[in-house]
Amino acid sequence: MKKKRLALLLSVVLTTVAVALGGCAGDKQESTSQITIGIPQDIEDSLDPMKATAAGTKEILFNIYEGLVKPDSDGNLIPAVASEYKISEEGRVYTFTLREDIKFHDGSSVTADDVVYSLERYADGQSGDALASAFSNIDDISAPTDKTVVIVLKEANTDFLSYLTAAVIPKSNADPDTVAIGTGPYRYVSRSPQENIILESFDDYWDKDNAPQIKKITLKIIANADTIVTELNGGSIDMFCRLSSTQVSQLSSDYNVYTGTMNLVQALYLNNAIEPFNDVRVRQALCYAIDPQGILDMAFDGQGSIIGSAVYPTFGKYYMPELADAYPTNIEKAKELLAEAGYPDGFTFSITVPSNYQPHVDTAQVIAEQLKEVGITANINLVEWATWLSDVYSGRQYETTVIGVDASMLSAGALLDRYRSDASGNFMNFNSPAYDAAIDAAESSVDDDAKTAAYKQCEQIISDEAASVYIQDMVNLVALNNKYEGYVFYPLYVQDFAKLRLK
């Protein structure tokens, strides 16, 4: 009797379990236009485009906000909030005409007042280095009519237009930190911390030719990189960017893989101010000892573009492919240089790596292994992203680090300016008077050919001085469920969700 009751209870429990388990599997909603995209981290800085600092945040906000101009998928600047613009002969006065039909996500029309308000916020100095210093060149911003904005510069700057990708937000939004209102193809709906962010297509988007195709986008936060493949194959997410080749090799046939580049300068950055890295011979020895191809083969299945200086190939005319071969792997040469520098038996140093970026952690592990050959011991010091920012980037209290540096726009200055000896982003403490002169020449030059030549000279100096051990622009593998298509790569660190569509 008792046993029967127990058996009954057990069977009830088991059935419930089976039903519940079954209930949560295989009932993927086939609703026509929605997609779940996995992202590696939540938006943890701010929804306010001015305060957003993380690359991961900016690439999402790219879909919500637009500037007067915005980059297209070739990296060219196209009119966005403005329908057209005129630059005066001497290059100091910019006149923008706003689109007639453009609206914010809250339904209000974009006025010249909103644009002036937005740009003045940036000019206040509250925003990032790049924008604050570029905007300090502004003499006056005015709105002569409701749909016209005039910007007058103190002195002409050929790069200025690219800074006007800065987002335009409505003056009426009192709390841009938590309420995101822009003019982009997607509007912000809601979020749940560490769980998801929900976007919906904006019906009144001005660009009817490039109107968003998919109605609802759920950005699902996948903090544990180790579960990405499981979630893709299980169908919990439809798309994920920046996968490793090993991850891709495990994907089921439901996925199409798009191959592009990350648009990052990945390197073993050296703190040039401290021993032994203040000795150019030691830095060069490291360049000879580390084999970028070996790193690619071991950690990236051979994919990625090897680089030899601080510019990656997407930069076209600024890029110098020959520098990639400046330091062919040569153990003997490395040992010689080390001996000359007074380290015949090598030395020990640490590589500080942010633990949330698996490709960099993998790269550091391979580097440590390669350096054993020349007698150098590299200890890996994994730190939180927060610690990396405060210790390595801001504090410069480190020996070496593996990281990828991105560019905010497609001008070589965006990558090269940080090597100026007094630049606030010069976390490698690179110090070369010759370089400072070269970068000054490049930035003040108005003639395009002269400018390009000067930037190339900068790259050459970085390579000669072995400022750091440059490795690659990493391959960017994007997995997209084959129900969807249309993923487009940009030469910058952005994601364009509006191009995605159902097959």
Partner: protein, 262 residues
């Protein structure tokens, strides 16, 4: 008698399992089948074979070799943790239990607060204070284990301090410290030792859990918990990568808990 034999059997089985694992860990100091850090592109996620009985990981490193060194890391951390916890816990527990009074009241109040934090949580917060790495994990877990040892030893001291042999020792003129450390502590030892085995297992679990979360041992150092976390990314293509570190972890805990049963 039968009961006794059965217990002995448990103990023996546990000792054999724990002994073999300990031997593997010790052996890894001198010899592993391969260099546990040696990467080999040709053997990435290679399956089980005679050459690699547990297969290879995502860098082509031999999993058996890494399990051996990982086991060593885990054992070293667990032993270190328990030693710190037992040592400082015994001191705090003896002093508070023996002297009592407001000193006991204050220390035990703080102790109880610390006890309210699950050890893993406490260690987690502390490692985020101190930064990761083997020694910081030992320190953090060790400190996190102090309160429970302190409470247990204090209880024993409360029980012992009014016993006749203690009173006799006092009457014969033995100082407080002598009474605590020469007379009472040896009598409390068996209780401490049995807690040490339980503590060891808790430390193994805590270390593995923290390393699994990525805040414990740092790569390229192998740790069973860290291997499990990395292996989760390859569950589809290489389930054995997760299986072996996990099973070794289970065996270690099983062996020690069998030994500590009585």
């Amino acid at each position: 008698m039968i009961q006794f034999l059965k217990l002995r059997k448990n103990f023996k089985a546990g000792a054999v399992i724990a002994g073999i694992l300990l031997f593997m860990a010790l052996l890894s100091l001198f010899w592993t089948p391969y260099d546990p850090e040696k990467m080999d592109a040709a053997h990435k996620l290679a399956g089980l074979s005679l050459a690699h009985p547990m297969g290879c990981d995502n860098f082509g490193r031999d999993i058996l070799s890494r399990v051996m060194t990982g086991l060593r890391t885990t054992v070293v951390i667990a032993v270190g943790t328990v030693l710190i916890g037992a040592f400082f816990g015994s001191i705090v527990g003896s002093l508070t239990g023996y002297f009592g009074g407001s000193f006991d009241e204050i220390v035990m109040r703080i102790n109880d607060v610390l006890l309210a934090f699950p050890a893993v949580l406490l260690a987690l917060v502390m490692v985020s204070l101190l930064g990761g790495g083997k020694y910081n994990v030992i320190l953090a877990l060790g400190i996190a284990f102090v309160p429970s040892f302190a409470r247990m030893v204090r209880g024993e001291f409360l029980r012992c301090k009014d016993l006749d042999y203690v009173k006799n020792a006092r009457l014969q003129g033995a100082g407080h410290m002598r009474v605590i450390f020469v007379h009472i502590l040896p009598n409390v030892m068996p209780v401490i030792l049995s807690s040490v085995l339980i503590g060891f297992n808790n430390a193994v679990l805590a270390e593995a859990g923290m390393s699994y979360l990525g805040i414990g041992v740092q790569p390229p150092d192998a740790s069973l918990g860290r291997m499990l976390s990395e292996a989760q990314g390859y569950l589809y293509g290489a389930p054995w990568y997760a299986l072996f570190p996990g099973l070794i972890l289970v065996l270690l805990i099983l062996g020690v808990s069998l030994m500590g049963n009585e």
